[in-house]
């Protein structure tokens, strides 16, 4: 079994492939932020308790402060920067904007990625399901209500545009 001081990894981030040489101890959060410039993901605690650093790895939400970048080798990572497409905000971002689901914005990328995962698996979550999904993301500004409303609104608009595009109006 080979081992080295530095490891070469291939990471796909928001669809773009990056080849990097990293120390094994470098956290995924730091590699994303400092090496690759995806500074949207924020560090709130560095011990997994606050959720600010949440990104998706192979479609699953993870605390990027608790994963070493080498563990994401060969995987697809999605950060908040991957939500908007061609300058158009994702319905989740639109809904957060509409409902003022943020104030300082520091925890927001973590909430967006967590909500994104929820809506991938559950297109019509109840309020309780939304609360359950977001229970690991801490916000110190909003008191959470506008965030819940934003996720509900996003679910609605994503569901209705899905039914439009699949022609279920007929």
């Amino acid at each position: 079994m080979q081992e080295e001081d530095f490891v070469t990894i291939r990471l796909s981030v928001n669809g773009e492939i990056h080849r990097l040489v990293v120390e094994p101890r470098r956290l995924l959060a730091d590699v994303l932020r400092d090496d690759l410039g995806y500074t949207g993901t924020n560090l709130g605690c560095e011990h997994g308790a606050c959720g600010s650093c949440t990104v998706l790895v192979d479609g699953q939400s993870v605390r990027s402060c608790l994963m070493f970048a080498v563990q994401a080798n060969g995987r697809e990572v999605m950060t908040v920067e991957g939500l908007a497409q061609n300058g158009v905000m994702h319905p989740l971002q639109q809904a957060f904007w509409e409902k003022q689901g943020l104030q300082c914005g520091f925890c927001t990328p973590g909430f967006l990625m967590t909500a994104y995962e929820l809506l991938q698996h559950n297109s019509n979550p109840s309020e309780e399901e939304i609360q359950d999904a977001l229970s690991g993301n801490i916000c110190r500004c909003t008191g959470y209500q506008h965030i819940i409303e934003a996720v509900q609104s996003a679910a609605q608009s994503m569901a209705s545009s899905a039914s439009v595009s699949s022609g279920t109006g007929a």
Binding site: P24, C65, L66, Q71, S135
Partner: protein
């Protein structure tokens, strides 16, 4: 809060992992979910010289139906436990308990094997394993052995795993007919470490009396507590508040080294253990009744 340096290995098979564990016995740690280990490293409370990342060993990730029960690979994620249908059908108490582990992003990474091997006193799965009479399979380069859950948890963050051993699976027997199970816990906030948690399994006779009861408690001692005195008391009783209250009192009496910290004193945890024992037994009995 950045982790200290370590040498990193990512074995692709159990055999490779065991070879590494043998070679780096005293300086190496296994990296599974990392949700307990990495915070400790970020805070520089632990400095493993070697990390053996087993996340690439796909053969460790499985859920198999066995003779009424389950065999679960060590790398099975807690999020899988909460959503898997076979688990829900056969041993729903496992899904219930897994759902209490932290939060969704934590559960996407945390593993069954990791939780059991780390043996945090507040961890839910160890208590459930004890209540379910699970068996833990540990492999090393010299072979494989099976340890009963009861014998596996030795004390605070201490298990029977020897240097060079890797926990590879847990085997849980099925529940007898007319059984029901439940897991309840209480924490300061949703998803926090439990101040007390109780797993209960109740099996009924055809006439509705209790033929067997099993309990496993977390957060009330350095290791999971299995209050056999309470279990003995319940056999032959009719399900109901009187039985639950008697069991709760018996449970409290065997909690002799509860944890105590800023979130809950020993007295409070002992009190909660009693309250939750009643709730868990009532829940398990209700489900057993539905299966009668």
């Amino acid at each position: 809060m950045k982790p200290p340096k370590f040498r990193y290995f990512a074995p692709k098979s159990v055999g490779e992992a065991l070879a590494l564990l043998a070679e780096h016995a005293d300086e190496g740690r296994v990296l599974a979910g990392g949700q307990s280990l990495v915070p400790l490293m970020n805070m520089r409370l632990v400095h493993p010289d070697v990390l053996i990342d087993i996340n690439g060993i796909s053969e460790l990730s499985f859920i198999e139906a066995t003779n009424g029960g389950l065999a679960i690979g060590a790398l099975t994620r807690d999020s899988t436990l909460t959503s898997d249908r076979t688990v829900a059908e056969r041993l729903s108490v496992l899904s219930e308990a897994a759902h209490c582990v932290g939060h969704p992003a934590i559960r996407n990474r945390s593993t069954v094997g990791g939780s059991i091997a780390h043996a945090d006193p507040a961890a839910e799965l160890p208590a459930v394993m004890v209540a379910l009479n699970a068996e833990i399979v540990a492999r090393s380069r010299s072979g494989s052995r099976t340890i009963s859950a009861q014998d596996f948890f030795k004390g605070y963050l201490t298990t029977d795993l020897k240097d060079g051993e890797l926990l590879t699976e847990v085997r849980i027997p099925g529940l007898p007919p007319r059984s029901g199970s439940a897991f309840v816990e209480f924490s300061r906030r949703e998803g926090d470490y439990a101040l007390a948690g109780v797993a209960a399994v109740v099996t009924l006779q055809e006439d509705g009396t209790i033929v067997d009861a099993r309990l496993g408690l977390c957060s009330v001692g350095p290791a999971p507590v299995r209050p056999q005195n309470a279990e003995a008391l319940l056999r032959g009783q009719r399900p109901g508040n009187e039985a639950w209250t008697a069991a709760a009192t018996a449970v409290a009496s065997v909690i002799d080294e509860p944890l105590s910290d800023i979130h809950g004193s020993a007295d409070y945890r002992r009190h909660l253990a009693g309250v939750l024992t009643k709730q868990a037994l009532a829940g398990a009995a209700e489900r057993a009744e539905r299966n009668r």
